[in-house]
Amino acid sequence: MLAYVGRRVLLAVFTVWAISVLSFAIIQLPPGDYVTSYIAQMASSGSVVTEEEAQNLRIQYGLGQPIYVQYLKWMKLVVRGDFGQSMEWKRPVIEVIGDRLWLTVVISVAALILTWVLALPIGIYSAVRQYSPGDYLATFVGFIGLAVPNFLLALVLLYLGFVLFNAHIGGLFTPELQDAPWSAARAWDLAKHLPIPALILGLAGTAQQVRIMRANLLDELRKPYVVTARSKGLSELRVILKYPVRMALNPFASTIGYTLPYIVSGSIIVSLVLGLPTVGPLLLKALIAQDMFLAGTIVLLLGVMTVIGTLLSDILLVWIDPRIRIEET
């Protein structure tokens, strides 16, 4: 088991490195270098950057030197927690991001948990009661989940909520608590607003997992050991849950690992549509305004959070049942 965990950690490290390179690429892509734009920005607001300050900035960010040197300098700063300055907001990037990153994590995790919690029982039910009305309903809802892109689903639900219930289902907080400091009331408010965004985000993943679980379980249900279990006199429920579900869980569990990046990805656009105070809308504004340090940092942090989340879920699954790891190798 240690070997497995070790491999996953190593892979995670490489992935984080790859993300950092890609984020850096994003920062570098727009034409012109950072300091020139910074000077221009400062100038437009009336402040002046002295030649000396400009030089210092250049040295600090390693501009004018080969690209990998710049990358290393940036990494050194990042590791120290200095993510640079947001040009648009004129504040350190990390301040601008603030709560939003955590909220992104909260929604993503909520969607992920919802996926697990929903997909498993629905998948089992669909397989055991194949062709029943419940099965067809689950399949139908599943198709909606797979066919409708999440941001369109959000749009339609917003519209329906507005028109049918005169309710605004977007947003994670009621307006009064939006910028308030954290408290139990705010946490509860968040929890009340979570289900709909979590559902929208997780629906496609749930539909996918239901299909997988259903297919796996249908395969397992036909196998001899299920008949053996039944022939011992076990009740039908116990027969199903103890034996074929356990086996069907193996491939199911290994696909969960890749759901998190998908959900985090989806949350960007869905947040935009629903107006959620997460990282998504901020990223879009940053990209349009070419506020590159903000954008690049968001991409970096999002990627790192995702990798950590995936790693944790992998380790958790292996810890729960080492046999899952045996199946995978």
């Binding site: 008949v227 053996t228 039944r230 076990l234 034996y243 086996m247």
Partner: protein, 336 residues
């Protein structure tokens, strides 16, 4: 010895309703089993022997259903009471009475011990589960019982084996473990569905010997389902020959081998290669092939392949199973 049979099946019909048609897997099967005997059920693949076993235990997979028939089973007396006979066909398959019988009073062992055990649970776990399900004992007592029964069936080092997975045991050991699991609650009837088909010949002999020994010790009845006439000759006291869902002949084992009456039984026996036959002697297969389940012949199911086919009779109605001699019944118009 009780005069009432242990198991009495009357006109059992189990059909499978598929899109393309109805498969009449068991089409009017009747036979009796007394206490302590070994009934061999013999027939080609697809003749319905396994479905008969599953019907008795009420674990037929959907879309199969028992349409008609009775399965009278004599339950052993509880707490010094009287033995009761119950019709298994009328019970709710998932109800508590049927589940109390299944696994404890009637047990089933399968052909493929490898895939018949769950690959992710230990042998011990699966046997203990059976014990705990039917007996009011603690887990520790169940574990001790498990080790005992494993020892009894000839599994070496049972204290270690009990914690192993099924893929850590050889084929023969697995089959022994499966027998242990079936016997753990001391059933009065053991149904063995092709128990030795997947084993090599030496192991086969050992397993059969084990079954005979256990039967002597416990007095249980065995329903032995197989297509191997050699196994039947060795183990059975009575034999029922099945073809396409019906019993075509039923008799004590000697009568079946030395005085077969039904044309199918005769053809089966002639088709067995003999050790004393001359070199290069041709084998005599049974003419024709088993019909497609959706394409059953009218009348007697065997008539297209029968050497004694009587046109006008055999293709109109199906013959009933009638006694022709002492304990010997045949379903053929030749004897009516």
């Amino acid at each position: 010895m009780a005069t009432e049979p242990l198991l009495s099946v009357r006109n059992l019909k189990t059909y499978f309703a598929q899109d393309e048609g109805t498969v009449r897997a068991v089409d009017g099967v009747s036979f009796d089993m007394a206490q302590g005997v070994t009934l061999g059920i013999v027939g080609e693949s697809g003749c319905g022997k396994s479905i008969t076993a599953r019907s008795i235990l009420r674990i037929v997979d959907r879309p199969g259903k028992i349409l008609e028939g009775e399965i009278h089973f004599r339950r052993p007396p509880k707490n010094g009471g009287m033995p009761q006979t119950v019709d298994l066909a009328r019970l709710d398959p998932n109800g508590s009475e049927m589940r109390a019988i299944r696994g404890a009073e009637i047990a089933l062992i399968f052909q493929e011990p490898m895939s018949s055990f769950s690959p992710v649970h230990t042998i011990g776990n699966q046997i203990i589960e059976a014990i705990l399900l039917h007996q009011p004992v603690t887990r520790r007592e169940a574990r001790a019982q498990t080790i005992e029964i494993l020892r009894r069936v000839g599994v070496s080092s049972p204290e270690e084996r009990v914690d192993q997975l099924s893929n850590q045991l050889s084929g023969g050991l697995r089959q022994r473990a499966m027998i242990a699991m079936a016997l753990s609650c001391k059933p009065t009837l053991l149904i063995a569905d092709e128990p030795t088909t997947a084993l090599d010949v030496t192991t086969q002999t050992q397993i059969l010997e084990l079954m005979r020994q256990l039967q002597r010790e416990d007095g249980m009845a065995i329903m032995l389902i197989t297509h191997d006439l050699g196994v039947i000759a060795e183990m059975a006291t009575d034999v029922a020959v099945m073809y396409l869902g019906r019993v075509v002949e039923q008799a004590p084992v000697d009568a079946i081998f030395h005085d077969p009456k039904h044309p199918y039984t005769r053809a089966l026996l002639t088709s067995i290669p003999r050790i004393r036959s001359r070199t290069r002697e041709r084998l005599t297969p049974i003419a024709g092939a088993v019909p497609h389940p959706y394409d059953r012949p009218a009348g007697c199911p065997f008539h297209p392949r029968c050497a004694n086919f009587m046109p006008g009779k055999c293709d109109r109605e199906a013959p009933a199973l009638r006694p022709v001699a002492d304990h010997h019944a045949v379903s053929c118009f030749l004897y009516e």
